[in-house]
């Protein structure tokens, strides 16, 4: 018989093994030395488990009856758990750590589709934390251990540790309707049982590779049968900054479905023409080569990777047609209509009123002392308090509204050196470039006024930008902190603040480092490419850092590269200018 590739691989291992023996192992290991090594390894493992235990949370509802597990990721008490653990708890829960203490906690954000929730524990600023691993590096067969609160055994607050293997990676587990879908998850035979839900699955080095949430049971009883699933650490990382917004968070669709062709390639089966994927050029029959940073070899692989990204993120995509490859970034739409998702979590908008004889529902949890200010109910939010927190943080440097009534005159030149001027005030927005003069009529729908031509609404975008600068953005419409998202790659780099204006929606992108406003996207609708302004060359003008270059793109086209000469106020005084 011939030695196949596997045979050769085995010979490589033999060679490698011999090398290790030659290099690192003395010709004879006596019993004492071997035992010392065993003890050292054991001690190392005990220490890893000890650190991992400290960051593991036993989650109980306020009555101490139901619950699950969680894991602390920040010293100020942000912890990840499952949505299905938090849901029956309501807004408040009690969390036990292995220090034997119980801490009050409040829900921050929920992701019902991905079965993830973010909670915040109170009482310390130095909570022990665990680190999220890069779960793309997790391999079938590697050792792992789960820590948690199986069967709610941790009444003494001491968690349970169970060892096992990674049985499989990139598994897919079907949703219940559209919720609780596990994509790209990690399968383990470490014993996970009811109560382990929301708790961490660790690699042998003590980094978190997943959040335990689900087991296969089928015809067996509701206990572990050697088959558990953990939400990947990378999915948790993508959603962490989005959940911190306090929102009810949605998962993503591409607006296109895939099929496997006769030759085994993954191709576009159907695509909706209003989607960003369509606008980026994806068409029926195109081959999907890579998505979300992964080679796509099967329809399942595509579904798997799609499920780990939040709605609204732009992710890299490579497709191929007639041998030509196109690499682009595509913005993902939501799985749900907003209201459908909110209803699944919060019930109908106008629920039946409470029976009059029962004005205080018996199961209404008492709000723990001092926590009332940390919860704010609002439609579409798990806890609006946290949205307000981030809005306040991002808008802190735009809080001065003393300039609210001012009109700003921005003058500059485009690449050809022609002058481009914009004037913006509380109810004024004007544009002049040569003989082209445009005005926004605030009596009419603002989103329909997409001037200047080809910009898909640059003048409205400039208006939103000025309203932000003068502390008036909340007057244009509803402002929401959307969470974090990546500008490039897949690591979140920016905070996103959205603001509606008429039927359109603006999105302010702030650098995570230093809160610099780096981009503004204005989408008059969700069927056309938004007007995207990249700001650069910031200089200080009268206490404000203002960008002296606006690069405006629609889709992949730069429609204006505007170099600013000066910002002036309606008083006519110069606020700054070209030196």
């Amino acid at each position: 018989m011939s030695i196949g590739t596997r045979g050769r691989a085995r010979m490589k291992w033999i060679a490698l093994a011999l090398l290790i023996v030659t290099v690192s192992v003395p010709s004879e290991v006596d019993g004492d030395e071997a035992m010392d090594r065993v003890r050292a390894e054991q001690q190392r493992r005990i220490e890893v488990v000890s650190r991992a235990r400290a960051a593991t949370v036993a989650v109980f509802d306020s009555e101490g009856r139901g619950g699950g597990s969680g894991v602390l990721l920040t010293p100020d008490g942000y912890a990840i758990t499952n949505y299905h653990v938090v849901k029956p708890c309501g807004a408040f829960m009690k969390c036990g750590l292995d220090d034997g203490r119980i801490y009050d906690a409040v829900v921050v954000g929920v992701d019902p589709t991905g079965d993830v929730a973010l909670i915040k524990l109170f009482g310390r600023e130095d909570f022990p934390t665990a680190v999220l691993a890069d779960s793309d590096n997790v391999r079938m067969g590697q050792p792992c251990f789960a820590i948690g609160n199986p069967f709610l055994l941790a009444t003494n607050l001491q968690p349970t540790v169970t060892w096992g293997l990674v049985s499989g990676v990139r598994r897919y587990q079907y949703p219940d309707g559209t919720l609780l879908e596990y994509t790209d998850c990690i399968q383990t035979d470490a014993s996970i049982n009811p109560g382990n839900s929301g708790g961490p699955l660790f690699a042998a080095d003590g980094q978190v590779i997943g959040i335990n949430g689900r087991i296969s049971i089928e015809k067996r009883a509701r206990v572990n049968v050697g088959v558990g699933y953990a939400i990947s650490a990378n999915q948790v990382r993508h959603f962490f900054g989005v959940l911190a917004s306090g929102r009810i968070v949605d998962h993503a669709t591409l607006g296109a479905t895939m099929t496997t062709s006769a030759t085994g390639e993954v191709t576009v089966d159907a695509i909706l023409d209003g989607t960003d994927a369509y606008r980026r050029g994806l068409r029926y029959g195109d081959r999907l080569v890579a998505f979300g940073g992964r080679e796509i070899e099967s329809v399942n692989a595509f579904k798997n990777v799609l499920g780990i990204f939040p709605k609204g993120w732009r992710v890299p995509m490579v497709f191929e047609r007639d041998g030509t490859r196109v690499a682009t970034r595509v913005k993902l739409a939501g799985v749900h209509v907003d209201e459908a998702l909110f209803e699944a979590v919060q019930g109908p908008v106008n629920p039946e009123p409470q029976a009059p004889e029962d004005p205080h529902a018996a199961n209404e949890p008492k709000i723990p002392d001092g926590l009332a200010e940390w919860y704010e109910a609002r439609r579409g939010f798990a806890n609006f308090r946290f949205n307000r927190l981030h809005q306040d943080r991002l808008l802190a440097s735009y809080a001065d509204s003393s300039a609210a009534r001012e009109t700003w005159f921005i003058t500059g030149k485009d690449v050809s050196g022609s002058p481009v001027e914009v004037a913006i005030g509380p109810d004024t927005a004007a544009w002049r470039s040569g003989t082209d003069v445009q005005l926004i009529d605030f009596e009419k729908e603002i989103a329909d006024q997409r001037v200047p031509e080809g910009s898909n609404g640059l003048l409205v975008a400039a208006f939103l930008w000025q309203r932000l600068q003068v502390g008036e953005i909340k007057r244009t419409g509803e402002v929401i902190y959307e969470g974090t998202a990546p500008l490039e790659g897949l690591v979140a780099t920016h905070d996103l603040l959205s603001a509606t204006a008429g039927a359109g929606r603006g999105e302010f992108w702030f650098d995570l480092s230093g809160s610099r406003l780096s981009h503004l996207e204005w989408a008059p609708d969700d069927r056309s490419d938004p007007c995207v302004i990249a700001f650069s060359d910031e200089r200080e003008v009268d206490g404000r850092a203002l960008p002296f270059r606006w690069t405006v793109k629609v889709g992949d086209q730069v429609v204006l590269d505007w170099v600013i000469d000066s910002y002036r106020r309606n008083s006519g005084e110069s606020e700054g200018g070209q030196p």
Binding site: R6, V29, G31, R45, M140, Q142, L165, Q187, E297
Partner: protein, 352 residues
């Protein structure tokens, strides 16, 4: 003194085996054992093994019967060893290799005494388990199970791996739970939960990456609602596998054109009552014998399993009835039976 020192060393060695190999705590620990065995971490064994496991999809999907199970490659030319079950009662049975290649599997033969079957894929050059390496693991030995559990893997997605140890090597004869198993020899009991949907036919692999057992069909103790986690030891299967591969236990040709006798034998004429054929593939277990009938006179008893009718292998009640239709009711017929761990041959005549 020498003895004590040796014992210390071997205890340490045992611990190192467990820690080093199974928790993969570092190459240096692994390599201590390079002298007597190749050092392998679980990840390495997984890497060597997953390509030798096949996902099988066939009949089922109703009445709680899964339409999928597991198989292992035992030749480079696509011979797949698996558990004999309802899943194989499909045309075609579809097999997926670890690399995602899809094949229609042909049933080459099966052995109802062991409830194993060998399928053939039309392919060459595959990696496979070398049956010559078969060993019987000892209780306490650590093993890995590779299975298509819960159908969670499709296409090129790898099967699942679980860990555990052999807890006993013993016969299930006399066990209430073992009563539904035709095979009476020793089985490998494991503490990994290997009895799950889709696991039959799965591989039990030892710490050297050798195939040591095949997970058998679901065995449940209905009184306790408990499933047994066990495997058929490979060493017990080898002769049967050889028989199948050499053509002795092959599936009867469908296009047998010999004329059927006008007055064939029937179960009634033999005074034989069999277990009801619920699934179409119910093994031909004797349910009762008619008092004073040919079967009783020949010494056949309830719970006997019919293996052969003359030289024809029968794996189901349906097979048995088909085989009887080829025998004239005036001719004697030879039945090969399994009773407990014994196999016996009896000759019957409907009209003595």
């Amino acid at each position: 003194m020498m003895e004590i020192s040796f014992r210390v060393k071997s205890t340490a060695a045992m611990l190192l085996v467990i820690l080093g190999r199974w928790l993969s705590l570092g190459a240096s620990v692994d390599a201590v054992f390079a002298a007597d065995d190749l050092p392998r971490t679980i990840e390495q064994i997984v890497g060597e093994t997953r390509g030798r496991i096949v996902k099988l999809f066939g009949a089922g999907g109703f009445r709680g019967l899964e339409a999928y199970q597991t198989g292992v490659l035992i030749s480079e030319s696509g011979h797949v060893l698996t558990a004999w079950s309802h899943v194989l009662d499909a045309d075609p049975v579809v097999a997926f290799l670890d690399d995602g290649r899809r094949f229609e599997a042909r049933l080459l033969g099966y052995d109802p005494r062991l409830e194993i079957a060998v399928l053939k894929l039309d392919v060459e050059g595959l990696d496979f388990f070398d049956l010559e390496q078969a060993v019987v693991p000892q209780p306490g030995e650590l093993v890995l199970a590779f299975t298509n559990l819960y159908g969670v893997a499709t296409g090129n997605e790898p099967v699942s791996v679980q860990h555990g140890s052999v807890t006993a090597v013993r016969s299930l004869e006399g066990d209430r739970i073992g009563g539904r198993l035709a095979y009476r020899g020793p089985v490998l009991m494991v503490d990994a939960i290997t009895s799950n949907p889709g696991t039959p036919g799965g591989a039990i692999v030892d710490s050297a990456g050798r195939l040591v057992g095949i997970i058998g069909k679901d065995l449940k103790a209905p009184e306790a609602d408990v499933w047994l986690n066990y495997a058929l030891p490979l060493v017990e299967l080898r002769r049967s596998i050889d028989d199948i591969l050499s053509g002795k236990l092959v599936v009867a040709s469908e296009d047998d054109s010999r004329p059927l006798p006008s007055e064939p034998l029937t179960l009634e004429l033999l005074g034989l009552g069999l277990v009801a054929d619920v699934l179409g593939k119910t093994p031909p277990f004797v349910d009762r014998v008619v008092s004073g009938g040919p079967a009783e006179r020949a010494g056949i008893q309830a719970d006997d399993l019919v293996l052969f009718v003359d030289d024809s292998l029968v794996s189901s009640r349906r097979d048995l009835e088909t085989a009887l239709r080829r025998v004239h009711r005036d001719d004697p017929v030879t039945l090969t039976l399994q009773r407990g761990s014994e196999t016996m041959t009896v000759e019957l005549e409907a009209r003595p």
